[in-house]
C-alpha cells in the first residue's frame, strides 16, 4: 500500500468572501489576474500538474464560496482533502479573525484522520495594497499557535509568493499522505514563513 501513492492532491481554499480565493487560484493555475472576478457561487476547481519531490502530481484546487452561509455545501467538497488553504485579506482584520472559524469548520466537516496534524497553509493576500491592517507579526503568531501553520503573504494581483505558497501546499499535502501511511509523526514539522522562505525560493527556481 505504501508504494501506491495517489497522484491527485485535493486542495481546498477557504476564507471570507472577497479575500481573493478565486484570484489566487487563477493566478497560480493560469498566471492571470483579472479584477472582474465575480463572487463565487457554489464551487469551482482547477487542476494543475506540479512536480513535488520528483513526483508529478495533479493538484485539484477547489475554490469555494466565501460566505459562511454556504458552508453547508462544503461537506461534499471538503471530503478527501489533502490540504486546506486559509486565505485572509491583510487589509481586512475581520477576515483574519475569521480564520479560526474557517479552520474549525473545515476540521469538523472534512473530519480528517489526524486533525492535529492536518496540513493547513495560511495566505495573507493583497499585500500589494497599501492600507494594510493586519501585521505580519500578528498573523505569524496565530499560525504558530496553531501548530506552526506555514504562512505566506501573497498578492494574487502581482503574483507575489503565489507560486511558492502553492509549492508548499503541494509538498505538505503530499507529506500528509506519507505521514498518514507511516503512522508516525515526524518530530520537526516543516515550518515556513515569509522570512525563512526567501532562501528556499532559490531551490524552487526553475530555469
Amino acid at each position: 500500500m505504501a508504494t501506491r501513492k495517489k497522484s491527485l492532491l485535493k486542495v481546498i481554499i477557504l476564507g471570507d468572501s472577497s479575500v481573493g480565493k478565486t484570484s489566487l487560484m487563477n493566478q497560480y493555475v493560469n498566471k492571470r489576474f483579472s479584477n472582474q472576478y465575480k463572487a463565487t457561487i457554489g464551487a469551482d476547481f482547477c487542476t494543475k500538474e506540479v512536480v513535488v519531490n520528483d513526483r508529478v502530481v495533479t493538484m485539484q484546487i477547489w475554490d469555494t464560496a466565501g460566505q459562511e452561509r454556504f458552508q453547508s455545501l462544503g461537506v461534499a467538497f471538503y471530503r478527501g482533502a489533502d490540504c486546506c488553504v486559509l486565505v485572509y485579506d491583510v487589509t481586512a482584520p475581520n477576515s483574519f479573525k475569521n480564520l479560526d472559524s474557517w479552520r474549525d469548520e473545515f476540521l469538523i466537516q472534512a473530519s480528517p484522520r489526524d486533525p492535529e496534524h492536518f496540513p493547513f497553509v495560511v495566505l495573507g493576500n493583497k499585500v500589494d495594497l497599501d492600507n494594510r491592517q493586519v501585521s505580519t507579526r500578528r498573523a505569524q503568531q496565530w499560525c504558530q499557535s496553531k501548530n506552526d501553520i506555514p504562512y505566506y503573504e501573497t498578492s494574487a494581483k502581482e503574483g507575489i509568493n503565489v507560486e511558492m505558497a502553492f509549492q508548499t501546499i503541494a509538498k505538505n499535502a503530499l507529506e500528509q499522505e506519507a505521514e498518514a501511511e507511516l503512522i508516525n509523526d515526524f518530530p520537526d514539522q516543516l515550518r515556513l514563513n515569509s522570512e525563512n522562505n526567501r532562501p528556499s525560493n532559490a531551490d524552487n527556481c526553475q530555469c
Binding site: 493555475v29 457561487i41 476547481f45
Partner: protein
C-alpha cells in the same frame, strides 16, 4: 514584414524564447507522461511557435507570383530541392486531397496567414511572458492555446493548423527541413529574418532536435484524462465525432426517452445515435483490441480474411479473441480501420462503412463452430460461427500455416473452465493440441464420409458448451422466475439480453460432458433444437409481457413522483407565424391599458419570449407586481406607493449605513494609524482617557447607547467637538448624527432622485466638503487638530442640510422620508433621541388632529434649527457662503410639507426593524446590518463589471435595492447571489423602486433555494427522478459514479436561475420563460432547463464518462457559452414529454 525590422532582435529573441518554452513544455510532458499525444495542446503550441519563426521575414516573392506568404507554400516550394520537404509536402497534399473539407480549411488558413502569424506570435509571447514559473503545467498550456484557438471561432481548424509542421514533427523530419531552410535562407527570407540569422537559425533547428526524436501517439492511454481536458477540447472532440451525423446533439434526449421505454423504434434517430456512438467508441474499440486490464488477449492474427455481408470480395483484417471475466469475445476488424484508425477523426466519412463490417461476436451467443479445410494441403481454413438463433456469421478465412487450429485451441482454452468445445480438440487421438488436421485427425461425427472422399473439404463442427450457464439455467428454471427475481430496473435488459443468451445452447448440453457416440449426440441435438424453439417462444412472450410491465411501472413512477412538476393541461404550442410577444400582440392584449387575457399572455411568452423593448412593461406582470386587469391609473398609483415605500425604507437604512460607515472609517483610520505610526502608546492613553471622560459625562441614554457601540476614537472625536464648541449635549449628539449621515446622502441624491434643481455650487460644495472632511478626519486622528475638527463638523452640517434641500424640489410629494432621518435632528428639546427616530415614531408624536399643521411646523423647526446649528458652528467661510441658498431651499421644501399627510399610510405598512425597536438602533442591529452592508458592498463592486450597464455607474442602484431588501429582511440577511438576481432586473427597469418590488416578488420563489431554505435538496431529488425517467443512460452513469445524488453542478443554476450560465440577453429571455412557464406549463421549469442543459451535452458527458467533478468543471467552463434558444426549446419539449407521459395513462 516591415514591423519585424523595426522590432529587430528583440522580436526574434522573443520568437526563439517562445519556441524554447514550448519545446521545454513538450519534452516535460514526454518525460512525465511517457508519451505525447499527437493532439496534445503542447504540440499545437510548439507548431504555432515554429510557424511564427518561419513566417517571420518570409519573402513573398520567393514563393512565386500567386502564392501567399504561407509557410505551407514555402514547403511546397522547397520540396523540389529538399528530400525531407518533398516527403512532407506529399503527405500534406495527400491529406488535403483526400478531404475537400480540409483543403478548404487549409487554404483559408493560408489565406489568413498574415493575421494568423500575428495571432500565433502574440499568443506565444503572452505565454512566454506569463510563465515565469516552473511546474510542468500542461493545464496552463492547454489554457493558453485554447485561448488562441477559441479566438479563431472555428475549432475544427485546430488540427489542420500548422499541418505541415505537425506532420514534419510526427515524421521526425522537421529539424532537417529547418536546417535546409536555414542554409538556404537567402533565397526565401529577408536578410534580417530570424531564419536567415546565423545564430538564431541554427538555434531554431537545434531546438527542434529533441521534439523530433519523440514518438507521438494517437492512442488514448488509460491515463489520457489525467490532465482533465478543457471544456473546449471536449466540445471540439464531440463536434468532430458527430460531424458526420447530420442530427444535432440536442435530439438524443427525446429519442432516449423512447428507447428507455422500449415503445417505438424511431429508426432514423436511433441510427443517428448509433453512428455517434460508434464514432466515439472508434478509438476505444481499437484500443480494446489490445490486451488491457479488462480483457486478456488470447489470440490475435492479422490478415485474416472475412467476407462481410454486402461485400463482394474477401477483406483482410485483424482477428482477435478476448477473454473478459465472464465472457469470451471474437473480434474481427477490417484493416482499413486498423491502419487508419487514427484518421478516423478526419476521414470518418470514408471509415464509416467499415465499421459496419467489423465483427464483434460474443462466444456465448455461438452454438456451433463450423470448420472447413481443403484436404491434403495446408490451405489455411475457414471458420463459420453459427449463433443460437441459427444465423451464420460471416466466414473467417485463415491464412495458411495452421492458424485455424491455433485459433481453435485458443478458443478452447478460453472457454475453460466454465465451458468447452464439444468434442474437445485435444482429445483427438491423443495427438494433443498441436496437430495438423488434414493428416492426423478425423472428423468424429461423420468419419466415414470424411475418409471416403479424399478431395472433398474436411468439415468439422464443434459445439460450444457452457457448464456454468447450464447450471444457472437449471437453477432459475423458468424465465418468469428469473425475471421476477431481478431488480425492477434491470427488467428490460434482463429480458432482452441475459434471458435470451442464457437459454438455448446451454440447455442443449445438459448431459454431454462424457464422450458420446455420434448417434446419441444427434438425438440430443434434435431434442435441444426443440428446446430452443420452446424457450424462444417463451422468451418472446415473456419479453413482451415484462416489457409492458416495465413500461407500466415506469409510468406509475412518473405519475407519482413527477406529476407535480408539470401542469396536467397541455397548452397548445405557437402557430408557425407567431413569434412570442411582439409589439403588435402586446398592443392587442393591452388594449386600453388593461391586460386581461393572462393565458394568452403567458402562452406567447412561454413559447416565444418577449421583444426586448417590451420587457420593461411586461416583466412587472410576469413577476406578479401588476395584477391583470388593472387600469393604467391603478398601476401608476401602485408604483407611486411602491416608490414612496422604497424611499422611506431606504432613508431608514441610510441612517444606519451612515453610522456604520462612520464607525468603519474610524476603525480603519485607527488601525492604519496604529500600523503606520507604531509607537503610539500615548495616543492610546488619550483614547482611553477620552473614553472614561465620555462615560462619566454622559447621562443621556441615547448617547450612552451610541457610546457603547462606537469606538473609542469615535467618541473621542465627539468629545472634542463638544469641548471646543461648548454646545449642549444634545446639540453635540445632533452634530455627530448629522456628521454621520453625510456619506450616504450624496449617493442617495445621485441615484434615487434626479437632482436637476440643485444648483451647481452645491455640488461643488458637496465634493469639496467630502474631500475636506476626509482629509480632516485623517488630520484629526493623527494630529488632533482642533481647527480641522471644527470645520469638518461645519461642512458636514451643511451637506446634511443640503441633502434635505436637494431632495425636496424633485419629489415634492414624498418629503417625509428625508425628514424622518435628517429632519428629526434639530428637535432636541422634544425628545431625547430625535435623530434616530423612524417615521413611525415621528408620526406617533404628532397628534392626529394636528396633522395638517404639525408637519409644517416640524419643517419650520428644521430650518431654524439647522440654520442656528450651522451658524453657531460656522467657522468655515466656504460652508457659510452657501448658507442662504440652503435655507431658502429648505423653506421652499417646508412649504410643501402639508402634502405629507396624504402619504402617511404606507408608513404604517413599514415594519422595519427600526420602528419595532422604538427608534433606537441597538448595537446588535447596527452590527448585523453593518456586516450585511459590508458584504453587499463587496459583491456589488464585483457584479458583472464587464457588462456595460454596471461598468462604471449604476452600481449604487444595485447596492440600494439590495440593501433595502436586506433591511426589510434582516432575519434573512444578505446572501451571495442576490446581486446576480437583482442585476438583470435593474438592467431592464433602470428604476430602483420597481426593481426592488419585482425583486421582492422574485425572491418569494428564489429565497427557498438559498441555504436557509430547503428547495435546493428538492431540486436535486427531482432532477434525479427526471433523469431516471427521461434519460436512463445518463442516470446509469450518474448512479455508477455515486456522488451524483448531490447534483452540485446544478447548484448555481438553481440558485441564480441560470443567471451565471448565460449571457445577459439570454438571461432575460430565459427568465421570462421561467416566469411564464409557472402559469402555463410547469412551476418547476428550471428543472427542465437544467435537464435540457445536461441533455445538450449528454453525449460528451457519456462518452467521457465524466464523474461528479468533471461535470462541475465542464459546466463551469461552459458558462455563458450555451445556446440559450436551443436549450429553452429543448426544455419546453422535455416538459411536453413529461406531460404526455402523465396524460397517457
Amino acid at each position: 514584414m516591415v514591423q519585424t525590422t523595426a522590432d529587430g532582435m528583440d522580436f526574434k529573441e522573443r520568437l526563439i524564447a517562445s519556441v524554447k518554452k514550448e519545446v521545454k513544455q513538450l519534452m516535460e510532458e514526454a518525460v512525465t507522461k511517457k508519451y505525447v499525444h499527437e493532439d496534445s495542446s503542447s504540440v499545437t503550441s510548439l507548431c504555432a511557435a515554429v510557424e511564427a519563426c518561419l513566417s517571420q521575414g518570409l519573402r513573398r516573392r520567393a514563393l512565386g507570383l500567386f502564392k501567399t506568404s504561407s509557410t505551407t507554400a514555402l514547403l511546397h516550394k522547397i520540396a523540389k530541392t529538399c528530400a525531407e520537404a518533398e516527403h512532407i509536402s506529399k503527405l500534406v497534399q495527400e491529406i488535403e486531397a483526400s478531404d475537400p473539407n480540409k483543403r478548404s480549411s487549409s487554404s483559408s488558413d493560408s489565406f489568413n496567414r498574415p493575421p494568423m502569424l500575428k495571432k500565433s506570435s502574440s499568443n506565444s509571447m503572452s505565454t512566454s511572458n506569463a510563465t515565469t514559473s516552473t511546474a510542468s503545467g500542461s493545464t496552463s498550456a492547454s489554457v493558453t492555446t485554447s485561448v488562441s484557438v477559441s479566438a479563431s471561432t472555428s475549432m475544427s481548424l485546430v488540427t489542420m493548423k500548422y499541418l505541415w509542421i505537425r506532420l514534419a514533427l510526427y515524421e521526425k523530419r522537421l529539424t532537417k527541413i529547418i536546417e535546409y531552410l536555414v542554409s538556404n535562407a537567402q533565397s526565401y527570407y529577408d536578410r534580417d529574418a530570424l531564419v536567415a540569422d546565423p545564430d538564431y537559425g541554427s538555434i531554431l533547428s537545434s531546438l527542434l532536435v529533441g521534439p523530433c526524436a519523440l514518438d507521438f501517439t494517437r492512442a488514448k492511454t488509460a491515463d489520457h484524462y489525467w490532465t482533465d481536458p478543457h471544456a473546449d477540447e471536449l466540445l471540439q472532440r464531440h463536434r468532430i465525432s458527430c460531424r458526420r451525423s447530420s442530427s444535432t446533439c440536442s435530439r438524443p434526449a427525446i429519442i432516449n426517452f423512447k428507447r428507455s421505454l422500449n415503445t417505438s423504434s424511431d429508426d432514423a434517430s436511433s441510427c443517428s445515435f448509433k453512428s455517434i456512438a460508434s464514432a466515439t467508441v472508434a478509438k476505444d474499440y481499437v484500443e480494446s483490441l489490445h490486451q488491457n486490464a479488462k480483457a486478456t488477449l488470447l489470440y490475435g492474427k492479422n490478415n485474416v480474411h472475412v467476407q462481410p455481408k454486402d461485400v463482394s470480395e474477401l477483406m483482410p483484417g485483424y482477428l482477435s479473441l478476448h477473454q473478459h471475466i465472464q465472457t469470451l469475445t471474437i473480434k474481427w476488424t477490417p484493416n482499413q480501420l486498423m491502419n487508419g484508425y487514427n484518421d478516423a477523426e478526419e476521414e470518418d466519412i470514408d471509415k464509416e462503412i467499415y465499421w459496419a463490417y467489423a465483427l464483434n461476436i460474443n462466444v456465448d451467443e455461438i452454438v456451433y463452430v463450423h470448420c472447413h479445410q481443403s484436404r491434403g494441403e495446408d490451405s489455411g481454413g475457414t471458420v463459420i460461427l453459427v449463433g443460437q438463433d441459427g444465423v451464420q456469421r460471416p466466414p473467417i478465412h485463415f491464412p495458411e500455416g495452421g492458424h485455424m487450429q491455433q485459433f481453435l485451441s485458443c478458443l478452447e482454452t478460453g472457454l475453460l473452465p466454465h465451458g468447452q468445445l464439444d468434442p474437445p480438440l485435444w482429445s483427438q487421438r491423443g495427438i494433443g493440441k498441436m496437430f495438423l488436421w488434414p493428416k492426423s485427425m478425423r472428423r468424429r461425427i461423420l468419419p466415414s464420409v470424411m475418409e471416403s472422399v479424399d478431395e472433398t473439404p474436411i468439415d468439422y463442427v464443434f459445439r460450444i458448451v457452457s457448464k456454468s450457464r447450464h447450471e444457472e439455467f437449471a437453477a432459475t428454471h423458468s424465465i418468469l422466475d428469473f425475471v421476477r427475481s431481478t431488480p425492477r430496473r434491470a427488467q428490460l435488459s434482463s429480458c432482452s439480453t441475459t434471458g435470451s443468451s442464457d437459454c438455448s445452447n446451454k440447455s442443449l448440453s445438459i448431459d454431454q460432458y462424457p464422450m458420446e457416440s455420434p448417434l446419441l449426440q444427434q438425438h440430443n441435438q434434435n431434442a435441444s433444437i426443440e428446446m430452443v424453439c420452446s424457450t424462444m417462444r417463451r422468451q418472446i412472450i415473456s419479453r413482451a409481457f415484462y416489457g409492458w410491465l416495465a413500461y407500466c411501472r415506469h409510468l406509475s413512477t412518473v405519475r407519482t413522483h413527477l406529476s407535480g412538476l408539470v401542469h396536467g393541461r397541455i397548452t397548445p404550442e405557437m402557430k408557425a407565424d407567431e413569434e412570442g410577444l411582439t409589439k403588435e400582440r402586446w398592443e392587442l392584449l393591452n388594449a386600453d391599458g388593461m391586460l386581461q387575457d393572462s393565458t394568452e399572455f403567458y402562452r406567447l411568452i412561454y413559447f416565444g419570449g418577449v421583444k426586448p423593448e417590451l420587457r420593461k412593461e411586461v416583466w412587472p406582470y410576469l413577476l406578479g407586481h401588476y395584477a391583470f386587469g388593472t387600469t393604467a391609473e391603478e398601476r401608476r398609483k401602485q408604483d407611486e406607493t411602491c416608490k414612496h415605500y422604497y424611499e422611506t425604507t431606504m432613508s431608514e437604512w441610510l441612517a444606519v449605513d451612515a453610522i456604520v460607515q462612520q464607525r468603519e472609517k474610524e476603525k480603519t483610520a485607527r488601525a492604519v494609524a496604529k500600523l503606520s505610526s507604531g509607537s503610539n502608546s500615548g495616543n492610546e492613553r488619550t483614547v482611553r482617557a477620552a473614553d472614561l471622560d465620555a462615560g462619566g459625562e454622559l447621562e443621556n441614554e441615547v448617547f450612552e447607547d451610541i457610546s457603547d457601540i462606537s469606538d473609542p476614537g469615535d467618541l473621542e472625536f465627539d468629545d472634542e467637538q463638544r469641548q471646543q464648541q461648548q454646545q449642549l449635549q444634545q446639540d453635540s449628539a445632533s452634530v455627530s448624527a448629522a456628521h454621520l449621515s453625510v456619506k450616504p446622502i450624496p449617493r442617495a441624491m445621485k441615484t434615487s432622485t434626479d437632482s436637476g434643481h440643485v444648483d451647481e455650487g452645491l455640488d461643488d460644495l458637496d465634493e469639496e466638503d467630502e474631500q475636506e472632511q476626509e482629509q480632516q478626519q485623517q488630520d484629526d486622528i493623527k494630529k488632533k487638530q482642533p481647527e480641522g475638527n471644527q470645520s469638518a463638523v461645519t461642512a458636514d452640517k451643511s451637506v446634511a442640510a443640503k441633502s434635505i434641500a436637494d431632495k425636496e424640489p424633485s419629489r415634492s410629494t414624498s418629503t417625509t422620508s428625508s425628514y424622518e432621518t435628517v429632519g428629526g435632528a434639530p428637535q432636541p428639546g422634544e425628545t431625547r433621541s430625535p435623530e434616530f427616530l423612524s417615521a413611525d415614531d415621528l408620526q406617533a408624536q404628532l397628534p392626529d388632529d394636528e396633522e395638517a399643521v404639525r408637519p409644517h411646523q416640524a419643517a419650520a423647526v428644521i430650518i431654524t434649527n439647522a440654520s442656528v446649528d450651522i451658524g453657531s458652528c460656522e467657522r468655515s467661510p466656504k460652508a457659510g457662503s452657501q448658507m442662504p441658498a440652503l435655507s431658502e431651499q429648505l423653506e421652499a421644501a417646508g412649504s410643501t410639507a402639508p402634502n405629507l399627510d396624504a402619504l402617511q399610510e404606507p408608513k404604517s405598512a413599514c415594519a422595519s426593524p427600526a420602528s419595532s425597536n422604538g427608534g433606537v438602533y441597538s448595537s446588535e442591529l447596527l452590527e448585523q446590518f453593518g456586516l450585511n452592508l459590508h458584504r453587499i458592498e463587496k459583491d456589488v463592486q464585483r457584479c458583472d463589471r464587464n457588462y456595460w450597464y454596471f461598468a462604471s455607474e449604476n452600481l449604487d442602484k444595485l447596492r440600494n435595492v439590495i440593501s433595502t431588501y436586506v433591511w426589510e429582511h434582516l432575519d434573512v440577511g444578505y446572501m451571495q447571489g442576490m446581486c446576480d438576481l437583482v442585476a438583470p432586473l435593474l438592467v431592464i427597469f433602470d428604476d430602483e423602486s420597481l426593481s426592488y418590488s419585482c425583486f421582492c416578488k422574485l425572491m418569494e420563489r428564489m429565497i427557498e433555494n438559498f441555504p436557509s431554505g430547503g428547495a435546493m435538496d428538492m431540486h436535486f431529488a427531482n432532477m434525479r427522478s427526471l433523469i431516471q425517467i427521461l434519460d436512463s443512460e445518463m442516470y446509469d452513469l450518474m448512479d455508477s459514479n455515486g456522488d451524483y445524488t448531490h447534483f452540485y453542478f446544478c447548484y448555481r443554476w438553481f440558485l441564480l436561475d441560470f443567471k451565471r450560465e448565460l449571457i445577459y440577453d439570454d438571461v432575460f429571455a430565459t427568465w421570462e420563460v421561467i416566469w411564464a412557464a409557472k402559469h402555463i406549463a410547469s412551476g418547476h421549469f428550471v428543472l427542465f432547463l437544467a435537464l435540457a442543459l445536461l441533455e445538450t451535452y449528454r453525449d460528451i458527458i457519456l462518452s467521457n464518462s465524466m464523474d461528479f467533478t468533471d461535470v462541475i468543471k465542464f459546466f463551469n467552463e461552459m458558462a455563458e457559452r450555451h445556446n440559450a434558444q436551443a436549450v429553452l426549446q429543448l426544455a419546453r419539449s422535455l416538459v411536453l414529454q413529461l406531460q404526455m407521459i402523465i396524460e397517457n395513462k
